[in-house]
Amino acid sequence: MTKTESSAVVAHEDTVLCREVLAGNTAAFALLATKYRKRIFSLGYSFFKNADDTEDFVQDVLVKTYTSLGSFRGESLFSTWLMRIAYNTAINSIKRRREYTSLAEDFEIMDTSGNPEDVHLRSCSLEAIREALDTLPERYRVCVDMYFFYDMPYADISEVTGLPVNTIKSHVFRAKKLLRGRLDEGDKK
């Protein structure tokens, strides 16, 4: 199954689960929550920078998602809609620290096991992304994270953050260019 096909399957599955929740099956919501818990946690961690506040944040987002599910029209993917709720909740939270910290700085919070080749490639890539992020204002860092770590296309990032697609595109382009340079250097060594 290709990546696109698998995302289509995941999206279809989300739609089915949403319908089940709206039909009264609350247990289906637990499945959706389990599926996206890690993403919500990672986004929250970038804002709150400690596990306790982030866990409270995850709960808030899940409760908000459940109570607003009736208004979800399916015009975007469920995952995008959920990320928008999470992003807005984080932005509006009084508990959050001032700055957004990229996942490139705190990548250890994720389970990053893998073969040595993957580990090397990851550390090389993280370095390049960190370098790209250093040149960006705080509000744009989240775009680069969403592209590289959350695997989101430009339109979805724009929908979540409210930033123009072209702005996102140019920041991601710069990060990709740095990443390419870093990978080339690694290849030559």
Partner: protein, 169 residues
């Protein structure tokens, strides 16, 4: 096309976007760029892997796995929120277009026929010319109200049909 130009065009692509033909042709003949694309794809895959969304596994025995404490707490909060789906009154189903058309036609035909009915004839006989203007105003108000209700209650349909939803620039 130079390597730099081809690679820049490649880098500008979005997730899952089709690679332009010119770039594909360049990659076919340039092993260095091909290797660069392979490395970049690998790097992007490795970075996205930890937060990748996988398919839902429905356990045959729902009570077997220990629930995640954060999700369990969220589910408890959800249970305490007095919101149960399906919410009363939300399941309106599809709006019947026939019902709207029939009511609209009935309204128009009613106004057309009224002046010739016994009631209309009596009204004209009693009020004379003073009957016409208020009657036409009433027709206009009723038809405008009907149109307003039709659009207002089916606003979702019109928004989607004519692409009126807000999209960020």
């Amino acid at each position: 096309m130079t390597c730099e130009a081809a690679f820049d065009r490649y880098l500008a692509l979005d997730r899952n976007e089709r690679v332009p033909l010119q770039v594909t042709l360049h990659l076919l003949v340039c092993p260095a760029c091909r290797a660069g694309v392979r490395h970049l794809t690998l790097a992007e895959t490795v970075l996205a892997a930890p937060l990748g969304v996988t398919r839902t596994v429905r356990s045959a025995c729902p009570d077997c796995g220990r629930p995640d404490p954060v999700i369990a707490a969220a589910m408890a909060r959800i249970a305490s929120v007095d919101q149960v789906y399906p919410a009363a009154g939300t399941d309106v189903g599809r709006v019947s277009m026939t019902r709207w058309l029939v009511s609209g036609m009935a309204l128009v035909v009613g106004f057309m026929v009224f002046p010739f009915s016994s009631m209309g004839v009596w009204s004209r006989a009693v009020f004379g010319d003073a009957f016409g203007v208020p009657f036409y105003i009433l027709c206009g108000v009723a038809i405008t109200a009907w149109c307003g209700l039709f659009v207002g209650t089916n606003i979702d349909f019109f928004v989607k049909k004519f692409g009126l939803q807000h999209t960020p620039a």
